[in-house]
Symmetry: C2
Subunit: 373 residues, 2 copies
């Protein structure tokens, strides 16, 4: 892979009659109106959060109005707490009050929280209206807006309530990321790196060489987002409803989720992408310790994540996390545990990840102790 | 059609990889355990209402336990008010607490309220777990349990929040209807008559001859339920997501819904099936007044509905309903109104119903005045 000139990219998600385009480029929010009007909608229910509303709502609304669309906006508080049954109820009610009907569209304008919340609301209003995703965080652009997984959290666990609801269109405005806090950008970048580590060593190499451009904006950013979307789209096309093959996307997430749970999802201490960064570094160290991949590959992964400012060890989490047993207990509860066996995504090298279902609890415990001790 | 000996019937709903069986017969609740175990479930989340719990829960639970299944029961108050966002939230939470997982099953044990509520909860817990419908009202057995429409009401309108979620199996225990209040049985019977009026004149004739047997129980009842399910299954197979062809199922419902709205959904004054009975009689009288069908056919419809004790005129509704204008206003809000045109299901005779989209408001108003005046 080599960087190319600044231009919009288009990624097709192939799902027979639910296929759709992901458009990636600068200035797409200003085109939202024309593109949504082209879908035949009359009314657009815009769902966004307070932060994004302050920064980008005017652009979106101006574009919708210019295209002659009727727009009604529903603003929810920023942050994970809005992925709740109560807020979902308010969004659903707002969309019904706005008279969003079956031919109309819901526009999710925001990060992954808004995408998941608005996507789920669209799935259940009038038994399903169309959703257009306009992701404004890097994580949402490269991950959550693609694939149709929507939902909210239950007090009993994350994402336990939801639906598969594929978008009709994804508008990933790379320029909108200019306002994203640096820590959030880095967290999203961890998921970008993930696609390289799963099965695209050339992309990982390209990121090692071009990460500064991705962070600065410009053609490298668009390129990195498009490559990530293409990778996720391919997985989604093979396994729309997550029966098997999507598991590789969980690279770094088994450890990451356990760490997030250990800090009780306190975003001050650890945001999701940071957990994933630590988790990926751990997955490669675990793979090396099991003799599956070289120590050099593990070191290369750690070096790149650290180079962009991402954490790579559980010891670095402010306030610390519990012991190996506590982490293992979280992993047992993780939905990737099947019939009591621990499932890990491990690697035989960079870009050579695979699903391993035969790790014993003793092996996992010994490794966790080495990481925390 | 001629009555046959008492035996179970099986109706296949053909929806490619979402196909399923409807079993109709006596004693099916006592077989629920074995049949659900055969689906490979381990845990069953039973959702039911207080009335049905008192009468039939023990049979169902005994059967589940005997089959070695872990069962957890969630009981909600009886009646339409349980189809709400709040009760849905409690059911969803109860299913998550019961650890109903992706391979498991939710069992909807009750009338249409429970089927819609539990079916929707199953659609959104863990982005979808399987639902087995065990309908215990006649309306649920011949209508709501078949076709995968699930949902709850919004304060802004009925069934505005929901999902399509096809069951994995429907167990229609005809014997469970023995405990159903007579008024509820009659109301469900209106939907049975509807299938004859839509496109099966032989079935309507058979009902004229055999309605006493249907009400009394025995082979005629099983036969009538199976014929109704077969009719609905055929429509659903042609139009799973209700884009067009399902409209015929609304015979009697445009008028019926307007009447229900006029009494503010007060079930003391008018239950849904009674509104449908009046609505079907009105649809035939309207068709006759437009010269579409004979007065004799309209009279035959009215006579049969009246013979089983169903109301056939809006004048009979206790407390009365508003004027023609008020009814028309409800019809305009009905989701079957497209681009300001009134859609009616009319008939060229018994079993010759069709969708008419070219009725003017003046024609409708004149007819309504004749009905109310
Ligand atoms: N559906 C999926 O497949 C999937 C996949 C991965 C993650 N997720 C979900 O995504 C969520 C996390 O997404 P997220 O990290 O985007 O969180 P988020 O939506 O909370 O966004 C992070 C923060 O950035 C702010 N923000 C967003 N865009 C901005 C911009 N352009 N400028 C300034 N601030 C901006 C938000 O207001 C928020 O404060 C989680 O709930 C996770 O479960 C879903
Ligand atoms: N999903 C669909 O396609 C569809 C189609 C038609 C109607 N519906 C819905 O169905 C609902 C109406 O269904 P319903 O008429 O069954 O209402 P219901 O579920 O409220 O049942 C009516 C009454 O009968 C009681 N009952 C049920 N089974 C009984 C039994 N065996 N013995 C004694 N009492 C019993 C109930 O407790 C309730 O009091 C409405 O909410 C309507 O919107 C859905
Ligand atoms: Zn992630
Ligand atoms: Zn009905």
């Amino acid at each position: 892979m080599t960087p190319d000139v600044a231009q919009d990219e288009r990624v097709r998600v192939d799902l027979s009659d639910r296929s759709y385009d992901i458009l990636i480029g600068g200035g797409l929010l200003a085109e939202a109106g024309a593109r949504i009007a082209a879908l035949g909608a009359h009314t657009v229910g815009v769902v966004t959060d307070e932060n994004v509303a302050n920064l980008h709502l005017q652009t979106a609304l101006g574009s919708l109005n210019a295209a002659g669309l009727k727009a009604e906006t529903i603003v929810v508080p920023a942050g994970e707490t809005s992925k709740s049954w109560e807020v979902l109820g308010r969004v659903v009610d707002g969309l019904i009050a706005a008279r969003v009907e079956r031919g109309d569209v819901v526009l999710a304008l925001g990060g992954g929280v808004i995408g998941d919340l608005a996507g789920f609301a669209a799935a259940i209003v009038r038994r399903g209206v169309r959703i257009v995703q306009a992701p404004t965080s890097l994580l949402a652009q490269v991950d959550s807006s693609v694939g149709g997984k929507t939902g909210v959290n239950s007090p009993r666990g994350k994402n336990l309530i939801g639906a598969f609801h594929q978008p009709s269109l994804v508008l990933a405005d790379a320029g909108a990321l200019d306002t994203l806090p640096a820590r959030e950008f880095r967290a999203g970048y961890a998921e970008v790196v993930k696609y390289g580590l799963i099965d695209d060593p050339a992309f990982f190499g390209w990121l090692e060489a071009n990460h500064a451009g991705v962070f600065a904006g410009g053609p490298e950013r668009t390129r990195a987002i498009a490559t990530s979307c293409r990778a996720k789209a391919a997985v989604v096309a093979r396994d729309e409803h997550e029966h098997g093959d999507r598991a590789l996307l969980n690279l770094g997430h088994t450890f990451g989720h356990a760490l997030e749970a250990e800090v009780a999802y306190d975003g001050e201490r650890l945001v999701h992408g940071e957990g994933v960064a630590i988790g990926m570094a751990m997955a490669f160290r675990f793979s090396a310790s099991l003799g599956l991949c070289s120590l050099a590959d593990a070191a290369r992964v750690t070096a790149h994540l650290a180079a962009v400012g991402l954490p790579v060890s559980p010891r670095k989490i402010p306030g610390g996390v519990g012991g190996a047993e506590a982490l293992l207990a979280h992993m047992r509860q993780d939905k990737k545990v099947e019939r009591g066996r621990l499932t890990f995504i491990l690697a035989r090298g960079i870009g050579k990840s695979f699903v391993s279902r035969d790790i014993s609890e003793d092996q996992a415990l010994a490794f966790l102790e080495s990481e925390l001790g």
